[in-house]
């Protein structure tokens, strides 16, 4: 229990221990712990970043999908409109064609009527002439009365 030179020896030993600890124990361990801390922080940050990116990508995908959907519906609408138009157009064309055909047919009929009438007229005129011939054969010369016949046939033609 006496205070003696142990005091000095202990103090020296203590300072040596502290020096060793300061030099060889504390710094490497602290450095390792700091490095680990930064590594963990980095990892956490990367994880967070990844999650954020994932969320962003999801959002973007949703947007693209929505866009695509909108585009598809646009296309369908357009197609529907176009189809309607085409049907209308076809209808119009068909009506036109029908009208044209009708017109042609009518013209043809007209012509036919005209030619039939012409023929009829000619036949009538020939018949008339032959009848007149028969009636006035004896007294009328065909060549002398050509003018009158022509006049009659022309009048017939006007009917």
């Amino acid at each position: 229990m006496n205070i003696n030179a142990t005091l000095i020896g202990q103090t020296i030993a203590f300072f040596m221990f502290v020096w060793f600890c300061m030099k060889y124990v504390w710094p490497p361990l602290m450095a390792a712990m700091e490095e680990r801390k930064s590594k963990i922080a980095e990892g956490l940050a990367a994880g967070e970043r990844g999650q954020k990116e994932h969320e962003l990508a999801e959002k973007r995908a949703k947007e693209v999908l929505q866009e695509a959907r909108a585009e598809a519906s646009d296309i369908i609408n357009l197609a529907n409109v176009r189809a309607g138009e085409m049907v209308e157009e076809a209808k119009g064309k068909a009506a036109e064609e029908a009208a044209k055909v009708k017109k042609g047919v009518e013209a043809e009929i007209e012509q036919e009527i005209a030619s039939a009438r012409e023929e009829l007229r000619q036949q009538v005129s020939v018949l008339a002439i032959s009848a007149a011939e028969k009636i006035i054969k004896s007294e009328i010369d065909a060549s002398k009365h050509q003018v009158i016949i022509d006049d009659i046939s022309g009048k017939l033609g006007a009917v």
């Binding site: 006496n2 060793f20 600890c21 124990v25 361990l29």
Partner: protein, 274 residues
């Protein structure tokens, strides 16, 4: 557990005597035969047991911690490194809590103080007779295995802290600043001698209280273990077991108090304004 021809007081005295090496009054050098002989050797004697055990434990501490520090992994720490890092984290937290300046010495100092004192205090938990008895078998007359029950050790630690406090006070504030701190507080300048007296007492009481607190606690604890060892063999454990369990708390707590106060004193030494 005392020898057949030993009385209880002899037994206790034996357990409380250091193995002292020094110069006998007749001029020869050797090991003191008892406390009185050790006292006669005066200041220039050393307690071999205190010095030896503390240095062995100090080296053990440095060896074990160096083992973890020699190739620390920055990945997932396992086993021993994990434990060491836990201790370091704890010390670092304590230092950051109470030390505001920046000084690379403080944290390793605190670590050394804490672990070393814990190890030395833990020697208290070794049954009181084992090591002294072993020593007697190989011819060592006295062996006090708990270095912290030797005031030489606690005072040496406290003095080391005291020196550091004064060193950093002068380094940070300059000799004038340090003197001003002692002389011009808490009263105005014309009361300087009184201030100086007050502050010097406060300054010196720090290491003394630091040393005596640790010494007193460990000495008392050791004393109770010795007294328990004097009881009949059958009932010893009913007392020594609870006391040992309680003592685990004391071991850690005293080391922690010593460390924390060291940090606080050094922090005060670094602070510019009082």
């Amino acid at each position: 557990m005392a020898g057949e021809n030993l009385t209880s007081s002899d037994y206790i005295k034996h357990h409380l005597t250091n193995l002292t090496y020094g110069q006998h009054p007749d001029g020869t050098w050797g090991i003191a035969s008892g406390q009185e002989a050790a006292k006669e050797m005066g200041f220039w004697a050393v307690n071999i047991d205190t010095l030896g055990v503390s240095v062995i434990l100090g080296c053990l501490f440095l060896f074990l911690f160096r083992k973890a520090a020699s190739a620390p992994t920055t990945g997932v720490p396992t086993g021993w490194q994990n434990f060491v890092e836990m201790v370091l984290e704890f010390i670092d937290g304590s230092v950051k809590d109470s030390f505001n300046g920046r000084n690379p010495v403080i944290a390793p100092l605190a670590l050394t103080i804490f672990v070393w004192i814990v190890l030395m205090n833990t020697m208290d938990l070794v049954p009181v007779d084992y090591i002294p008895h072993l020593g007697q078998l190989i011819g060592i007359p006295y062996l006090k295995v708990v270095p912290t029950t030797d005031p030489n050790l606690t005072f040496s630690l406290a003095l080391a802290v005291f020196f550091l406090t004064i060193y950093y006070s002068i380094k940070v504030k300059g000799p004038g600043g340090f003197f001003a701190e002692l002389a011009f507080h808490p009263f105005p300048k014309y009361m300087m001698p009184f201030n100086l007296l007050l502050e010097l007492i406060a300054l010196i009481s720090k290491p003394i209280s630091l040393a005596l607190r640790l010494f007193g606690n460990m000495y008392a604890g050791e004393m109770i273990f010795i007294l328990i060892a004097l009881l009949p063999l059958g009932i010893q454990w009913t007392l020594s077991l609870p006391w040992a369990i309680f003592h685990i708390l004391v071991v850690i707590l005293q080391a922690f108090i010593f460390m924390t106060l060291t940090i606080v004193y050094l922090s005060m030494a670094h602070e510019e304004n009082h």
